[in-house]
């Protein structure tokens, strides 16, 4: 089996598993909606004020949604033993990790990016900033998924990984928050957004190259322990 077929097979398997349990797909979206509702209630419903905070609100909620789903990335595979099969497989673990992350990104980051225009209108974000918001979300959430995968790989063997993973991973999420937020703010202000998106893209390149290596190491440690 060549690498591409293997990669596609793993992605397909992860997506199938998710489609069979649709609530797992809906959970991050519902979470996204509910946390967004909290902000107008907490900060006050004044449209101008909401518009100022909207880029920050979006990114913080995406960060949290990613964090919550990252914990479950390898959990069921670890529990039913299919993770050990991947470790024993002749295909590199780098590839399986990257495939699992791709599926995770499609189910959280891409979905959130697709529904984000609706929430952007609810928060009174300038409509001209919506394409930038979606582009930044697509790039940024891929980085978040990759970093979250490292945390998930390191904590999958632990019984109480949920709270721990946020402590490990949130500091690493900050650059994405800063530049993702910067892109949307620049777009609202009519400034060029390309530099921000380019930096997010550079982060994504670095994360694709290195994060699956750390994930592979982490998965081996977790299975050995």
């Amino acid at each position: 089996m060549n690498a591409t077929t293997f990669f596609m097979l793993i992605v397909r398997r992860q997506l199938l598993l998710a489609v069979r349990r649709p609530i797992e797909i809906a959970n991050p979206l519902l979470f996204f909606l509910m946390v967004i509702v909290l902000f107008p209630l907490g900060l006050g419903p004044a449209p101008a004020q909401l518009a100022t905070f909207a880029p920050g609100i979006f990114w913080i909620v995406v960060l949290l949604a990613n964090l919550l789903t990252a914990d479950t990335l390898f959990r069921s595979d670890f529990d039913d033993g299919s993770l050990e099969q991947l470790l024993l497989s002749r295909q590199p673990l780098y590839l399986s990790a990257l495939a699992a992350i791709t599926a995770h990104w499609l189910l959280t980051g891409v979905l959130l990016a697709l529904v984000s225009p609706v929430f952007a209108l609810m928060l009174n974000l300038a409509p001209s900033a919506i394409p930038t918001l979606m582009g930044a979300l697509l790039l940024g959430s891929a980085v978040l998924s990759l970093l979250g995968g490292v945390g998930a790989a390191l904590t999958v063997g632990l019984k109480r990984g949920g709270m721990l993973i946020s402590l490990l991973i949130l500091p690493l999420y900050l650059p994405v928050l800063i530049f993702g937020h910067g892109a949307v703010v620049a777009s609202v202000g009519g400034l060029p957004v390309a530099p921000y998106l380019a930096i997010l893209g550079a982060m994504l390149c670095l994360a694709i190259a290195l994060a699956p290596l750390a994930m592979a190491l982490g998965l081996r440690i977790s299975v050995d322990a």
């Binding site: 721990l164 402590l167 690493l172 910067g182 750390a214 190491l217 982490g218």
Partner: protein, 246 residues
């Protein structure tokens, strides 16, 4: 050279050599810290703008410098542990995390105390302060991950991976926080350290930084010895050590 490197992997050898290093390094460090503090607090001229309040620099700056260096010590120990599977590197990694966290905390607290008379506020979301706060979180993450594992060998390796991931990320985090700060430029607060520091203040500062490095080394060795004793408590060399000391 290589035989020295291999010997580092042996717990009894490391325990003995660290004991003989500590015997002279620890008193020397205590004397140096005391001397440096006296030099900095009593025998340097007051700053013409900040008066005497700047003297906290002799604790604040050394703590911050060594806290940053400590992360790299930890990451290098992690790399050694992953590449050469050396158990003592795990011990060093585990031992340096709490020291680094404590130094980062000291740097943040002394910074806040210094900020009150200088800037008129305890806390500012300045790029450097924010970066130090994130460094504290990175240290705490390592400690939390280590404590979460029951199998301490796996804990060491997992922390090594996390420390290396953190090392790649630290420059990115620092640059992005700098960027974020330049976007949110607050109005009136400015770091006063821009004028070049006078030699009469610089020498005690450098002396204190060296003393803090020595303090870090002492704490690291003491922590490593404690960790070694607890990990190896069922082995023969510990039993002999206890028998000898009786």
């Amino acid at each position: 050279m290589w035989s020295f490197f291999h010997k580092l992997g042996s717990p009894p050898w490391l325990y003995r050599i660290s004991g003989s290093i500590l015997r002279w390094l620890l008193p020397l460090t205590i004397v140096a810290l005391f001397a440096g503090a006296v030099w900095g607090l009593l025998f340097t001229p007051p700053d013409f703008r900040q008066g005497n309040s700047y003297r906290i620099i002799y604790i604040h700056v050394p703590a911050a410098v060594v806290a940053l260096a400590g992360y790299y010590v930890m990451a290098i120990a992690g790399a050694i542990s992953l590449i050469w599977k050396m158990k003592m590197a795990d011990v060093a990694l585990r031992a340096s995390a709490p020291i680094g966290a404590a130094l980062t905390f000291i740097a943040l607290v002394t910074g806040a105390i210094w900020g009150k008379p200088t800037w008129g506020t305890w806390w500012v979301w300045d790029a450097r302060i924010t970066s130090m706060l994130i460094l504290l979180f990175l240290y705490l993450g390592i400690i939390a991950l280590y404590e979460a594992y029951d199998n301490k060998e796996a804990a060491g390796k997992a922390c090594a991976v996390l420390a290396l991931v953190g090392t790649v990320n630290i420059p990115i985090i620092y640059k992005s926080v700098d960027w974020w700060y330049s976007l949110h430029q607050p109005a009136s607060i400015k770091f006063t350290g821009e004028s070049t520091i006078d030699p009469s203040m610089l020498y005690p500062l450098l002396f204190m930084i060296t003393a803090f490095y020595a303090l870090f080394t002492c704490c690291l060795l003491l922590n490593m010895r404690a960790e070694l004793l607890s990990r190896e408590r069922r082995t023969g060399w510990i039993a002999r050590l206890v028998a000898e000391s009786r």
